[in-house]
């Protein structure tokens, strides 16, 4: 009986496991394998020649290959940090706004916020590239009305990456607001009532009830936000091409440039492996941090 159960479980798991194996595990293992080779992406795998750790030495070295990779890694880190730091608090703030029942329009606001997430990136990129235009863009014109001098936005290395972060925040905040609202609905109203009876004000209720009980939602949001941010590609490819001075050259775009445009498949694979490891370490660190906080509480 138990053997039959095992067999049927294996049978039912087989299709999903096979799909995972073919489409996720095999490509990952292949990428890891290729990262130790010299290989042109335009030729068959049989032409790849083993070169040990040379690709990893190159991408962390001081030649232009290493400098560009390290700069792209830092750009990706800054972009991710900026996105998480802006999106998460904003999503909680907007979540509270649309979740409240004191004033009407919460559902409408939620719809408006979520709609930005549904706009195709090509349209967002086209609109933002015009909004950010330093000489004729509406943003600088609006700033001019209130006496703020024109900003360089995408046209200077100091501001270009942050401008792309703003674009990402604008597009993604609605999605994370919906997640925050889902978390808020899980908090029992009785807790707020009890706190109110005990004389807690709104700020105390937020920090003592809302924020701690949103912990799991925020953990999930943080992980998804990081994964989304690390995978940023379209706005860079469509608007800045990684410039100026590689200020917006993020890793996904750089890997495409190295691995596809220059056909340096081995080097590109090493970069992809390094990105994957960085992502795994970051996510593991976040979970470890969350677990340690749970223990201390």
């Amino acid at each position: 009986m138990q053997l039959n159960q095992h067999r049927s479980a294996l049978l039912m798991l087989a299709p999903a496991t096979a799909l995972l194996g073919v489409f996720i595990i095999v490509p990952m293992l292949l990428t890891i394998g290729l990262s130790f080779t010299k290989w042109s992406t335009q030729t068959g795998f049989e032409t790849a020649s083993f070169i040990g750790l040379q690709n990893f030495i190159d991408i962390f070295g001081n030649t232009s290959v290493g400098r560009d990779f390290k700069a792209a890694l830092i750009n990706t880190g800054l972009y991710t940090l900026g996105s998480v730091v802006l999106i998460l608090p904003l999503s909680v703030l907007l979540g509270l706004l649309v979740h409240q029942t004191l004033a009407p329009g919460g559902v409408f606001l939620r719809t408006v916020l979520f709609s930005t997430y549904m706009v195709p990136m090509i349209a967002v990129a086209l609109v933002f590239s015009k909004l950010y235009s330093p000489s004729e863009g509406p943003l600088n014109q609006i700033l001019g009305w209130v006496g703020i001098p024109p900003q360089t936005w995408l046209s200077a290395p100091q501001t270009a990456l942050f401008s792309i972060v703003i674009l990402n925040v604008w597009q993604q905040v609605g999605y994370f607001t919906v997640l925050a609202v889902a978390g808020l609905t899980q908090i029992p109203a009785s807790l707020y009532e009890a706190a109110r009876i005990d004389g807690a004000n709104a700020i105390q209720r937020f920090f003592s009830i809302t924020l701690p009980l949103l912990g799991n939602t925020l953990l999930f949001s943080t992980v998804i936000c990081i994964i989304n941010a690390v995978q940023v590609f379209e706005p860079v490819a469509l608007i800045t091409q990684g410039g100026p001075v590689n200020a917006t050259n993020v890793l996904t775009y750089h890997i495409r440039r190295v691995g596809i445009e220059r056909a340096q498949g081995g080097t590109g694979s090493a970069m992809a492996v390094a990105l994957m490891l960085a992502l795994v370490i970051a996510i593991a660190a976040i979970f470890a941090f969350a677990r340690s906080r749970e223990r201390t509480e």
């Binding site: 042109s40 992406t41 335009q42 030729t43 030649t63 232009s64 560009d68 590239s129 235009s133 330093p134 000489s135 004729e136 360089t152 995408l154 046209s155 200077a156 290395p157 490819a237 469509l238 608007i239 800045t240 091409q241 990684g242 410039g243 100026p244 001075v245 590689n246 495409r256 440039r257 596809i260 445009e261 220059r262 056909a263």
Partner: protein, 435 residues
């Protein structure tokens, strides 16, 4: 017996029909380009004319932005299902040929090209002595300037030397109007590199000689210093210089709207200027690149484009593709309204303000070329132009130098450091790619 004869006749007819069908093998030929929709329409019209006399060949045209062209070629373009024909930039050829993505031209086509195109252009369409493509356009760079802004600044004529160029840039710069003297370009490799390289060759220098970078020369030092001077003096504003994936953007907008006095650009952007400026296009004039202190004559770099055939396509598709390309680039394809002897490709190129390369096209369009005041600054430079180096790792070399020049534009590197970085990176990249 009669029945047998009828059967034999019918069998013979079927066999004849079948063998005829076997001789006429249908071929689907796809043409990948980065041209704009109106130019694509002209190419499609030419393909329709060809297909009318070659019903067995079906030709489709696919266009992608310039910024995506190489990636498309490298991904879908190189496979058996990729485009049969692609228009490519000559700097990409050595790498594409090395990876066997492009097919060598058949002997007859190679002989036709060698006989009908200038040797320099044939050489740019070849790698290691083998011809891979049919050349079509050649692009050179010239100083584009706004005559209205020149008149307002009291400048009588286009600068011929770097001293005159700097003096003009100073007079044209007016920060109160948001106006810059000379427009740089950034965020686009060719847009950054080609104007710099044109100033370098006009100063007697070179980027690469015999496969070795020569950015450590005195001529290169002076060119880096010229850029530094333009930026430090405020004659060029890098925040007005951005380009996007379609090779348009603020750098073009600022020139079109009269906020940039001078810029160095290739002849192909004539159509973009006309579209953006309308009647104000009459304000634009062109002149050869100013000569630097170490230079002897006005020069520009040149680069060419060619159409190549996918090496992974079937033999029938390759044969049909070469046949179409020979027709498209030959005098048999003269479209209506084009001068006698002109090819359909020549007519398409001229519609964009691009100089054709086939000797018979240059002759056929000679009157039009001579009478176009915009192209004058380019045609004057053509004879003295130096081809942009085509080397293995050319794309990586271009992107590396682009980054260094942009770092200088934004004050992250001074001229001396930029020169040293550019030379060191170029040596490392070219040596690594040559292995």
């Amino acid at each position: 017996m009669q029945l047998f004869r009828a059967f034999a006749r019918a069998s013979g007819a079927v066999a004849a029909l079948l063998s005829g069908t076997a001789l006429v093998q249908a071929a689907d030929v796809s043409f990948l380009t980065h041209w704009a929709p109106d130019t694509v329409a002209k190419l499609e019209a030419a393909a329709a004319v060809y297909s009318a006399s070659h019903p067995d060949t079906k030709i489709t045209v696919r266009a992608v932005p310039f910024g995506d062209l190489l990636t498309t070629l490298r991904t879908s373009g190189g496979g058996a299902d990729g485009a049969t024909i692609a228009g490519i930039y000559d700097a990409w050829l050595p790498d594409l040929a090395k990876d066997q993505l492009v097919a060598p031209a058949p002997e007859a086509t190679a002989a036709d090209v060698t006989a009908n195109w200038p040797a320099g252009v044939v050489s740019a369409a070849s790698a290691k002595g083998t011809l891979y493509g049919i050349p079509n356009e050649i692009d050179v760079y010239a100083l584009n300037y706004n005559k209205r802004l020149f008149a307002e600044a009291g400048i009588a004529e286009a600068p011929k030397t770097w001293d005159e160029f700097l003096a003009a840039a100073e007079k044209l710069t007016d920060k109160s109007k948001g106006q810059q003297g000379f427009g740089l370009i950034n965020s686009w490799a060719a847009g950054v590199l080609h104007p710099f390289s044109s100033l370098l060759v006009s100063n007697g220098g070179d980027l690469v000689v015999d496969g070795k970078p020569t950015l450590d020369s005195q001529a290169a030092k002076e060119t880096f210093e010229l850029y530094e001077k333009l930026i430090a003096s405020g004659y060029s504003d890098p925040s007005m210089a951005t380009a996007d994936a379609n090779t348009t953007g603020p750098f073009l907008d600022n020139f079109v709207s009269g906020k940039t006095g001078m810029i160095i650009m290739a002849n192909w952007w004539e159509s973009a200027l006309k579209a953006g400026m309308g009647d104000a296009f009459a304000d634009i004039a062109t002149a050869p690149i100013p000569v630097g202190p170490s230079g002897d004559t006005a020069r520009s770099i040149s680069y060419s484009w060619m159409t190549v055939v996918n090496a992974q396509a079937s033999a029938e598709e390759q044969a049909a593709a070469w046949d179409f390309l020979v027709w498209l680039n030959g005098p048999e394809s003269t479209p209506e309204g084009a001068p006698a002897g002109a090819s359909a490709m020549g007519d398409i190129l001229m519609s964009m303000g691009i100089l054709p390369t086939r000797t018979s096209d240059v002759a056929a369009f000679s009157e039009r070329l001579a009478s176009d005041p915009f192209l004058k600054g380019y045609t004057e430079t053509l004879a003295a132009a130096k081809p942009f180096p085509t080397v293995l790792g050319g794309q990586e070399f271009s992107e590396s130098l682009q980054k260094t020049l942009e770092a200088m534009q934004f004050g992250q590197l001074n001229a001396a450091d930029a020169q040293a970085t550019a030379q060191a990176d170029a040596i490392e990249i070219l040596e690594r790619n040559a292995q």
